[in-house]
């Protein structure tokens, strides 16, 4: 199911592009904000939860998910170089699964790790805030990677659609329209954080069983569908 050669090519493609700069900028910004807040405000559990919830999980994780998820397959389909993977006796779902693993690893490394560090800077993991949001970032990384990998497989405008989803749906609608929150990876992942973090500091609109079922369901369905789409991917764009 996992092909090390496909993984190597994907890592280099994702981390070697100019877009990858965002992978370093966003975590850097989070750590900067965390240090500034701690410096001016001192350690405060609620402030720590607000910063990690408002910036790390609501904005940074989905954005990094977009970059890593779409970036691990979209550009190859766009420029046609994926033909070198497809013209091999390698099962197409194997290609998708491997790329998913890479996207998850990159998203986790660039979102969950800085979230954990930022949590420690903000309040030294008081009330388990750092751990709670790190767990949220980890599970969200999995679901976002699967969703955005699928998006990269089916659309040439994956990055734009991904950004719209991440910023408009997750951030704006998610906070304004109650119903939209049920269909939000962010809320699902926060539902896990809610159970770990101190009482009343983290809130989610989705119950834990629903959240876990939806996270798993979306990840599996998106990955399966991306594998099917790759099997029938047409490469004749020119004529």
């Amino acid at each position: 199911m996992y092909d090390p050669t496909v993984a190597r090519l994907t890592y280099r493609a994702v981390l070697g592009r100019r877009r990858a700069a965002i992978l370093f900028v966003l975590p850097g910004l989070l750590l900067l904000i965390a240090a500034a807040v701690r410096g001016f405000n001192g350690a405060d559990d609620q402030v720590a939860a607000d910063v990690l919830g408002g910036f790390a999980v609501a904005t940074m994780v989905p954005l990094i998910g977009v970059i890593a998820g779409t970036g691990s397959i979209g550009p190859e389909i766009d420029d046609g170089s994926i033909v070198y993977l497809l013209a091999k006796p390698v099962k197409r779902p194997t290609i998708i699964f491997t790329k998913l693993i890479v996207a998850i690893a990159v998203t986790m490394a660039f979102s969950a790790v800085p979230t954990f560090i930022a949590g420690f800077i903000l309040n030294g993991n008081g009330q388990q805030i750092a751990v709670a949001f790190t767990v949220a970032a980890l599970v969200a990384s999995i679901a976002y990677s699967a969703l955005f990998l699928l998006l990269g497989t089916v659309s040439r405008h994956a990055v734009v659609i991904g950004l719209v989803y991440a910023l408009v749906w997750e951030t704006l609608f998610g906070s304004l329209v109650p119903g939209a929150r049920t269909l939000s990876v962010q809320q699902w992942s926060l539902s896990l954080a809610e159970k770990i973090g101190g009482e009343g500091l983290i809130g989610s609109d989705v119950g834990l069983p629903t959240a876990v079922a939806l996270l798993a369901g979306v990840t599996v369905a998106a990955t399966w569908y991306a594998g099917q789409k790759l099997r029938v991917l047409k490469l004749a764009g020119e004529e």
Binding site: P4, T5, L9, R12, P89, K234, E239
Partner: protein, 303 residues
């Protein structure tokens, strides 16, 4: 012996028919797929390579359906027309990755790089390669598992004459070894130099098939039209019409030129300057008026 069979195959994109009810068999040896740009050559090659589903009919490799069948790539090597590769890799890294995807390793990759004579630049990034070098590394990536079928889409595009000769030698060698080599081209001379067998595609239809000499004859024996301007058009016309190589001459007064229809191409091209010299007529313009590839092919379709 590996054979690709295309049976009553069509492919359309929306309302546009790119390949129209084509039936052909590509067997061992070098086959040239000839046709003007936009004739459907790439669509056909993409169907043979398993990158496009036929809208109708079947495309098979020794009886096995190619579409949605990854196992055919153990036997097929593909050299795509598009330039895009993994530019951030070196040539060697790229070919090694291709070998690994076939379950092979660095040894096979090195052999393929040697075959295309790219060892000298194998440690440079692909982004620094010229078009010809890219083409050769693409070749190496397709040869790494020693496929019995090699599909090449416009492989000579952008190559200089020396690289072209090298690639032709290589493909000839592969054909002689009994591999099935199919390449597409819109240039007759290219196909003629390399392929013993030609399939001609015009406007999505299978226009001709067979030995290149027969097709060449069909192409050159057609009436050739020329537009000629000279110091004395009427004297020239009178002298030319006396020779059987000329079938008709029209004095186009609006253009101030002769429109000549020649039936024996070789003889006419020798006759024209000779007649002009004998009658002390200066030739000002001699231009073929239907030499575009499309008109050559359309003649072939009618034949």
């Amino acid at each position: 012996m590996t054979t690709i069979s295309i049976d009553n195959t069509s492919r359309w994109f929306g309302n546009v028919v790119a390949v129209n009810d084509v039936t052909m068999t590509i067997g061992p040896g070098v086959t040239g797929l000839l046709g003007p740009n936009g004739a459907g050559k790439s669509t056909l090659i993409n169907m043979m390579g398993g990158f496009l589903a036929p809208s109708g009919g079947t495309v098979t490799l020794d009886g096995a359906t190619i579409w949605r069948n990854e196992s055919v790539y153990r036997q097929i090597g593909v050299v795509p027309e598009r330039e895009a590769m993994y530019d951030f890799l070196t040539g060697r890294e790229f070919v090694v990755a291709n070998a690994e995807l076939h379950g092979l390793g660095a040894k096979e990759a090195q052999k393929a790089l040697a075959t295309v004579e790219m060892e000298y630049a194998q440690d440079r990034k692909i982004s620094t390669y010229s078009k010809g070098m890219r083409q050769r590394v693409k070749m190496a990536s397709a040869l790494v598992h020693e496929p019995s079928v090699l599909l090449l889409d416009e492989p000579f595009n952008g190559m200089d004459p020396r690289q072209r000769m090298q690639l032709m030698d290589l493909l000839r060698r592969m054909g002689a070894e009994g591999r099935t080599v199919l390449f597409s081209s819109h240039i007759l001379e290219e196909v003629e130099q390399l392929a013993s067998h030609i399939e001609v595609i015009v406007a999505g239809r299978h226009a001709a098939s067979g030995d290149f000499r027969r097709i060449r004859r069909l192409m050159t024996d057609r009436p050739h039209r020329y537009l000629v301007r000279s110091s004395d058009d009427r004297a020239l016309a009178a002298a030319l019409i006396a020779d059987p190589s000329t079938a008709g001459i029209e004095v186009d007064r609006a253009e101030g030129a002769l429109r000549i229809q020649a039936v024996d191409f070789g003889r006419f091209t020798e006759l024209l300057p000779k007649v002009a010299r004998e009658h002390s007529i200066r030739l000002l313009t001699v231009s073929p008026s239907d030499e575009s590839l499309e008109s050559v092919f359309s003649y072939l379709v009618a034949a």
